[in-house]
Symmetry: D2
Subunit: 414 residues, 4 copies
């Protein structure tokens, strides 16, 4: 690869000498972007793209924001041209007039991203670029239009058909594993020994989606415990020492942590596909697995209690009851569940199966939900029906026990 | 994979039973397309997509044309909606109004293609679908708008950054090699023995681009001979027996055949990148290679002679001369070279280096160019300049010898 | 690899220049063998070994025979030294005296083979060397002692624990597949199309043992057809066109061809392990497979009939009957079955299940057995018992139908 | 694999039930060993071998010693039989009588080891078994004869031609990397971060030999630093932060740590081949590397000083001088260098290039050599000559500077 890079670098410099142009290192990123979009970009484009990506990587936040501003302002949709093309198309629809609409409807910054992406390794750099953008957008909402274009491109590039599910194990490459340690967002992995405990035993599994153009970068991963029965506390799964069982003895697969790895892919959803495919793969490998369930945090509980002026009950049963009520009833303005994790699993067709107090003793667990956790159950016979009802009427699926628990909360707290 | 398919098939059927819908096998492809685009497509979409692709594969041409007609007509751009969104955006530009324009500017058939593509293996099936479309468009030009959308999507999916260059050798998988035999378009491979002669000797190479979602399907490949000196006839390269040289002894790499494999990727160009990367890889492996050259057919010569009422000269020198003149002067209406192979290599920055009579004795070679062939030279010091001049002023780079040869044709024939 | 070779070649030549020795190219293979066994072989040994293997490969049969004669005569057991070491050991058994016996009991030609084997790729060349030896031994039985030493070494090197079972399919490398074509010994593969018909359909399988040091060279392979019911004729399996079934529909796996690939590994048996492991792998992949059976030739039938003065019956039933009798009763002097294929499968614990006339219409099939074939059945519940009885008492397992058939032959022909 | 194991386990139990034999779990390891060597071992052998290896792994040291005692005593050489076979051979040399000598000269415990080795994974277990044996031999030297047989077998199995050199990097599997941490014997790796510092930077390399039957177990590995100039202290290489250079800028490859991983392969030497092949591979990848050198400990210096009643000088120059003298002059009874690391590198053809005081500040480095270290230089033009002289006359190659340094020690200390 480096030889190719060297060759291209050589080509690149020759190009500018030949044409009598100024050295690209003296040109602004904006000028280089116009060069790359220009007619001669086809031959020298790869070297130009690499140079631009390297230059971008070296910028500070102010310069990055300025570059995004340029994209938002100067490489944007030409509304007038689009209107004209549209009129011509409506007047005389044809392949040519349709092509003109399509061309006018796409702002040049989309083509710029595609041309940057011709360099090996560029995909990951563009994903990182969007992570910068999402951060800088908070200061300057005007950059949001650039994000829409990147998100549109990424939806195509990271189409489900291009993703590859790979098991992550203790014999995975260390440079992938260190990313699992870094990205675990639910129950922090505090050392390589901790990681080994989650990957090496035969009753533990981990799976991640990868994109072929970012082979060392997991996009999202899920950690799974194979158990007998449904566990009610995270320390039952993670504390040491514990008794390992043979994978064949397990009747339950517990998805106890799902973590997105790429901030730059926010909003490009693949979590739903991940769980479906892991369920399918585990069911094939271990036909005796009958139950697929999560052990999930309730990250919005404490905030909701605080916003609605309710105290967090001291007594475990009361905590479970108020959590049940929260999961079944607390909604956002748009009618969807208040709890983000609930939104995710209920949207996938899971149901609320059971609620456990004293289940997460970590500082974070105590702060966000008073230590309460929840099992979402993926019952393959009911996934589609649950999903349909949730999507169309907002109806939340739950076990009778959870419904009864929520009802008891009403009596206690209202 | 098949277990996943089975599971999804099971999910799929349950979905329809659960919802009381009619069996998908009784629904039309058009109805299924609307289902897949609908809100519940997220959970049952993978099974639906697979079912649709299987159904499509079983159709005859008339039904395929009807399906494309549906895409052209019913899943097309809503011009009115786009106009309204555009007005709103111009009145009050914002992230939201821009998002509305983008949404309105994309016809639903693009999203349909992305949802079909979530199934493993779908990418190849969608490429085959476009091959059908390009064929059927000849009868019904109105389908051309569908092609524009597929082409737009494929340009994103087959972006250079996602392609992988792989050497093809006699230890490549047989199912890939049989495609090399099938797709060789320049000098037909007539048997596995013939293939072995082109791949196994150490002075022969072959490289192809692959896409990760179509791992067994080469997209385009180039065959290379490593030689001492520039060869002037294809039988010097392909006839047997011949003396093999050690790769380290070669000073010249001859690109003697470049073949596209996927009719469904017509217009998505990667030939240019292929040659650049193969040059880079060979230069790394064999530092003594100093010359990179083609031995190319001249497919348009006979037709041009016929169209311009010139006879094909009998005498070899005169044939060479008229071929030189043709390559330097014959142009299409748009000013680009008449010869398609010349357009390709000159557009990449090559120059016309030498012309050989009696160089291709095959029936096809005699018919299309009276057996004349040409070397295009990739001189790394001049590629960018050649390309720039060709792209901007249409100037064709050629060796002095070739220019002199063309001049001699003027004297002889005019 | 070639760079290493070059470096070693350089080291090699320097060695001789440095030491003032004559050029190795002027030394005899015998002298080089003594050099390699000598004390300085440790550093320059790899280059010396490669040089010797290359030299050997260029020899004609007479020179090869002379080299083996040298090994037989001059690098042989020193009986006197062994006797002395043995006496010392018996007088005072100790680690040291035992080590001396071991050292004396091993002729230097074994160490020579181990030192030759340090070169990458040497293992295959040594196997080819033994193939030469086995051929030349027919002329000069005195070389047989060399063969015993190679065979002893190879038994260690090709120990079952070092072999790898790999499926062979239509996506295997062409350079492996051309060896399958070349080595198929039972039902010749006449073209790449014929090979594809045996590998590509989902109701056909092939498996081979490989050794890691000879990764492109299958050692032995078996071809398998997945069928419904037990087939009674080879053309039912091999003729085209035929209806392919889904692998999941099959209830029977038919081993219809087993071929050894390496004449140089004669007598190093792994066929027995191959069948056991293929049965295990197929049973895992396709749990509905209930029957594991061969469709085998009867290569000794015609010869036995001729030796015992019996005519080959014209009538199919009579042919079946005499074949049954032959398989159950014809024995060699040592009491084992006359038929080599019967010896192999009965020794593995199979039983004679059924006999079919008109089952092999090939010239070879008609010549060797009048077209009669046999199914040997691997009944997992009876393999061990069958094997035990066969190994200890010579008892041959057979179905009642086959026994009745053999009895009918008695009536007809005696 | 596990399915195969299950199948074999099933076969195994059926065997004993069928034959009416006692359950193998009730039989002693000694009885099972005789079973495995017996005639019926061919079919049920794989299950029996696995059962034996599992049983062995569960034993305590006393039972292991008893089992080795059984091997030493009861599966030993039959001296009488060997004497008889030898007499017969001398009386009438033939293929048959030679075969009889060979058979008699091999104790049954060698065949037992080969039969145990038919199980996948057995090779590693047998290597671990020898590690046990070497430990237990210290108590019971009578077991030494068993070791001689295992060592003989292992020399064949781990023949250089079967070993595979693999680079170890930060993208190697974690289960391999944790063994690098565990086995590093020279400069301890104290954490995964420390390991990353030795593997991830582009001016650091690591290579290991593997055997195909033990794919996760490195046999021996070497750590390499790419530097400008020859370093004189280990903390220059290992301390952080330090400036990383591009690999292409380096002129020197420093072998700063070589560690054997398998106690059970003691005496089966491959270190010499490792260095030769790493030099060849690095020279190919980085043609600008001109110097190949070690930075090595001097583990015997302090002990030699103590044994010869010399004090360790305080002054750095004096320390260097006495170390030079030690390396050039201190010998064992057999005339070879006293220092084990010196024996290894001088035996490989290296020369003593330079000596550094204050070069290893670790507790171990101070204890064993007062912090002094040495560079051995692998000068490709002189390796063979150095090796020859060392092997034949014991002459030690050293730079003039080192010789002068040693001479100065004479003056100072005598």
């Amino acid at each position: 690869m480096s030889v190719l890079a060297d060759l291209l670098a050589a080509l690149f410099e020759r190009r500018y000498l030949a044409a009598g142009d100024p050295d690209p290192r003296n040109r602004s990123l904006e000028e280089l972007a116009r060069d790359l979009l220009g007619s001669s970009g086809e031959i020298s484009g790869m070297a130009l793209a690499r140079h631009m990506l390297d230059r971008y990587a070296g910028l500070g936040d102010a310069d990055k924001a300025a570059f995004f501003g340029f994209l938002a302002r100067d490489l944007s949709l030409d509304a007038e041209a689009l209107r004209a093309a549209l009129q011509a198309f409506e007047a005389a629809p044809s392949r040519e007039s349709y092509a003109a609409v399509m061309a006018a409807a796409e702002p040049p910054r989309q083509e710029l991203a595609r041309r940057l992406n011709q360099v090996p390794g560029a995909t990951g750099q563009l994903v990182a670029m969007r992570a910068d953008l999402l951060r800088l957008m908070r200061e300057d909402p005007g950059l949001g239009v650039v994000d829409l274009d990147l998100r549109h491109l990424f939806s195509s590039w990271f189409n489900r058909g291009f993703l590859v599910l790979r098991p992550i194990s203790w014999s995975s490459p260390a440079d992938v594993l260190e990313k699992i340690i870094a990205y675990e967002a639910v129950h922090a992995i505090d050392s390589w020994d901790d990681l080994r405990r989650r990957l090496a035993p035969q009753d533990r599994r981990c799976f991640a989606f990868f994109h072929p153009a970012m082979p060392d970068e997991p996009l999202i991963f899920v950690e799974v415990a194979l158990t007998r029965g449904i566990p009610g506390a995270i320390h039952d799964l993670l504390s040491e020492p514990r008794e390992t069982i043979r994978a064949q003895e397990a009747d339950t697969a517990v998805f106890y942590s799902i973590s997105n790895c790429q901030p730059g892919l926010a909003g490009i959803s693949f979590g739903n596909s991940l769980i479906k495919q892991v369920v399918a793969d585990l069911a094939q490998e271990l036909p005796d697995l009958g139950t697929f369930v999560t052990l999930s945090p309730i990250p919005g509980l404490a905030r909701w209690l605080s916003e609605t002026g309710r105290p967090l009950p001291e007594e475990p049963e009361a905590r479970r009851a108020i959590a049940a009520r929260y999961l079944l009833e607390a909604r956002r303005a748009d009618g969807t569940p208040f709890d983000p994790v609930a939104r995710f699993h209920l949207g996938n067709g899971a149901l609320i199966h059971a609620i456990h107090a004293g289940a997460d003793r970590s500082a974070n667990g105590l702060r966000q939900s008073g230590g309460v956790m929840v099992n979402y159950l993926y019952d393959r016979a009911r996934i589609v029906r649950n999903h349909e009802r949730f999507a169309t009427t907002g109806q939340i699926a739950a076990s009778p026990a959870v419904r009864a628990l929520a009802a008891s909360a009403d009596k206690k707290t209202d």
